[in-house]
């Protein structure tokens, strides 16, 4: 190129402008495609007051057995909720799902599955109970493939540290990839503004597109203490799939319930292999961690959370998102009427 003529300049300028316009047009295409979702037909209570907070039990959590409703004598076809105790994470989750009727009940052959663990930070390894147990997640990925899933993606968007680092430090990346699953980067442009018609507060929310498109969503929270919502369990774990989470904290209970009206996991598996009893959700102190070797599995996220609350010596009514969620018809929190099956593996 001997000379850069005016003509050359105009060509380059036109090409550049064209490319930018194309980008803008393509970008604009996306704005008109809010994913519509089926709304629940349950009437929503209009004036939800957050439940009165009772003081948090100061020190020790009562042994879980004390608060567990006794297993029903007559084994019904499938229980509403299964609790497995005393074993390795893999055995716990396999047994729990077997009791629920097998993973095939939730994961049809050829399904695209997303497993959503809690990988909220990159600070600590799994022993600190800030992130979901890696073997629990790995086993679920394995089981999905055994059931004939077409793809299994695992994702979370940490609030502390980078995704990449959090995936690694938590140990989840290693187990998931060993099981053949894909650790997916959650990218900023993939959040889609979504209408949430049954919501009280959270009318529109930007949700990660993959979550909306997945055939099956498996929610794998870890049970942790959390100051504003008191406990972070299954319902709270779904906050990982939306953008701008900080703003939700002003009316957190209602927002969590609203989010659960939009995003409905087919299966919730609460990791209580280790639970974090204080200084959550970040942790960092092993004295705050309690090893319970327990897994709670249920297709009903509200029920799973209600039971998990008992591990911390709380009642479902102590957690406002459970109260609101129950009122919104998202699930059941009446543990005494649920068919709960408790399986002690090492007994």
């Amino acid at each position: 190129m001997g000379k850069f003529t005016r003509r050359d300049f105009l060509k380059v300028a036109a090409a550049g402008a064209g490319a930018m316009t194309l980008g803008a047009i393509l970008d604009a295409c996306g704005q008109v495609l809010p994913t519509s979702l089926p709304s629940t037909d349950t009437p929503i209570p209009s004036n939800q007051q957050p439940a009165t907070l009772s003081p948090f039990p100061p020190d020790i959590i009562p042994p879980a057995t004390d608060t567990v409703p006794a297993p029903t004598d007559i084994p019904l076809p499938t229980p509403d909720l299964v609790v497995t105790r005393g074993g390795e994470p893999e055995a716990l989750v396999r047994r729990a799902l077997a009791a629920l009727g097998g993973i095939e009940k939730f994961v049809p052959s050829g399904a695209n599955v997303i497993v959503k663990p809690n990988i909220c930070l990159a600070y600590h390894t799994y022993e600190y109970a800030a992130t979901t147990n890696p073997w629990l997640v790995g086993t679920l990925v394995k089981m999905c493939y055994e059931a004939g899933a077409a793809s299994v993606k695992v994702m979370d968007n940490p609030f502390g540290g980078t995704q990449q680092k959090a995936y690694e430090i938590s140990g989840i990346k290693e187990q998931v990839e060993a099981a053949g699953g894909v650790m997916t980067n959650m990218l900023s442009y993939y959040y889609v503004p979504t209408q949430n018609p049954s919501a009280v507060v959270l009318k529109t929310v930007k949700v990660y597109d993959d979550i909306l498109k997945a055939d099956v969503l498996i929610n794998v929270p870890i049970a942790k203490q959390h100051s504003s919502s008191r406990l972070t369990l299954g319902m709270k774990n779904l906050m990982g799939v939306i953008q701008n989470r900080s703003a939700l904290h002003i009316n957190l209970g209602q927002c969590i319930a609203d989010l659960n009206a939009l995003i409905k996991p087919q299966l919730t598996v609460v990791d209580a292999v280790r639970i974090l009893t204080a200084n959550g959700p970040t942790g960092g102190n092993l004295t705050d961690v309690k090893k319970l070797d327990t897994v709670i599995a249920s297709p009903d996220v509200v029920a799973a959370d209600s039971y998990a609350a008992s591990l911390f010596g709380m009642k479902p009514e102590d957690l406002d998102y459970i109260v609101i969620g129950t009122a919104m018809g998202l699930g059941r929190s009446d543990l005494q009427n649920l068919n709960v099956q408790v399986i002690q593996l090492d007994a």
């Binding site: 540290g161 680092k165 900080s246 904290h249």
Partner: protein, 538 residues
Amino acid sequence: MREIPRVKMENQVTLLKRGKRKFRKGQVAGPWILFRKTVQYLTLFIFIALFVWSRQDGGQPNLINIPMRMDPLLILAHLVASRTILVGSTLALIVLLLTVVFGRAWCGWLCPLGTILDLFPLNRWRKKRPAPSDGWRRIKFDFVIVIFVAALLGNLTLLFFDPLTLLLRTLTVSLWPALDRIVTAVEAGLAHFPVLAGPLSTFDNWIRPTILPIQPVYYRDGLLFLAVFLGVILLNLLVARFWCRYLCPLGGALGWLGKLAIFRRKVGMECKGCTLCTDICPTGTINPTKDYASDPSECTMCLDCLEVCPCGQTRFVTVFSPEKWTAYDPDAKEALLAVGVTVAAIALFKSSQPAMRQTPFLIRPPGVRENNLDVVAFTKCTRCNECIRVCPTGGLQPAVFDAGTAGLGSPILVPRLGYCDYSCNACGQVCPVQAIPPLGLAKKREQVIGLAFINENRCIPWSDRRPCLVCEEMCPLPEKAIQLEKVEVWGPDGKSVTLQLPHVLREVCIGCGICEYKCPVSGEAAIQVYIPQVEVPF
């Protein structure tokens, strides 16, 4: 001085024809040029590759910062200012040695900014105009004097204009974020075509986080830093490599050392005076009125003249005596003036407001403050901005005027843009001169970089009587630097509500800034990190 040889007209024409055969697309061709360009592009590629590799858990920190540790201006100025010798800095000897042997070969063969300037021969767009007077060349030499006198007085501000720091800063703050936005915009557009979902995700997994970040990072004043870089390129409009000829402080430093160069250009006696070399020389140092001799302080050893010379009279020979001082090398008077100006400027810096009382939000990377005083940042920081590049949250930003004029380009943490990640110690690992100490993660977690204060007038539970507590949740410390006070207060509707009010534990808080970053209050956060308490009283 020999007279310009008188050549017959037809002779001159044949010579020009013979010489011009070597021109292609306005540039000289030939095996030496091919070799030089290969080296140039390879070096530029390596520089950018190391830049791309600079991220948390990306590449080996001591490999990433090699270009900076090879930069003799940066290393020597740091040595003078900090009065410390670092083992890692001995890499700069390579370039010094190269200069003693080959003169300013760094500029012609290795400097990535030089290569970029070669890629924009803007002066060819215009009609040929006479180059500025040779007197302008003194600017870069004066620049060197100013930088070293300032360094002696403990100031490194002007390393902002070192070519490597300039390029790395522009890549970090301007070019790469812009590239990321463009790629993201195109991806976001294409993401709406379901057919493309597969290839797009493959592409994304390939490009992120290898080349572009997973989560976008944001920089203040990217355009401002880009403008400096663009200015350097646009100066090529006046004359080729204007920056290298007249301004570059590294070029000036190497130029002076180049007076000792062993290999120097010499023109043979048989020269017919065709002026081809004068026309092609990118630094315009070949002087037809002085027998086509050149100044080794200016010659970048590009070898264009060697290739273009039709008579084979341009040679590179070994010389073992230092080159003479030229008219544009600063004389004693000028040097003294430069020293005086520098001393006055440093005195002004030391009497400026930030020297007496720091700006309240001047949060430095972990371990930079000594006794919580912000002195090190000025005597040690070479403004290379490697730390800013590796910071995974984008919290580290180059200071514009936050640290006073003297702090230009030094790193500060802006918590509203990004926090100091509790799982990261990358900045200290990558710093080429240990201005940020290379702390292990456990040690880094103990560094107090600031102190959080709650603004009760803006805080949601304090002023609105509504629950929030994001700051407490986000606090990464195992014992939580934010504690909650449970109170029964009157709510906005006149009814009694039970609330938890956040309080900062001053002795626990390390000032990482995640509370400020995540605070849901729009605008100024209701919890802000200030500079740490100074332990030593005045």
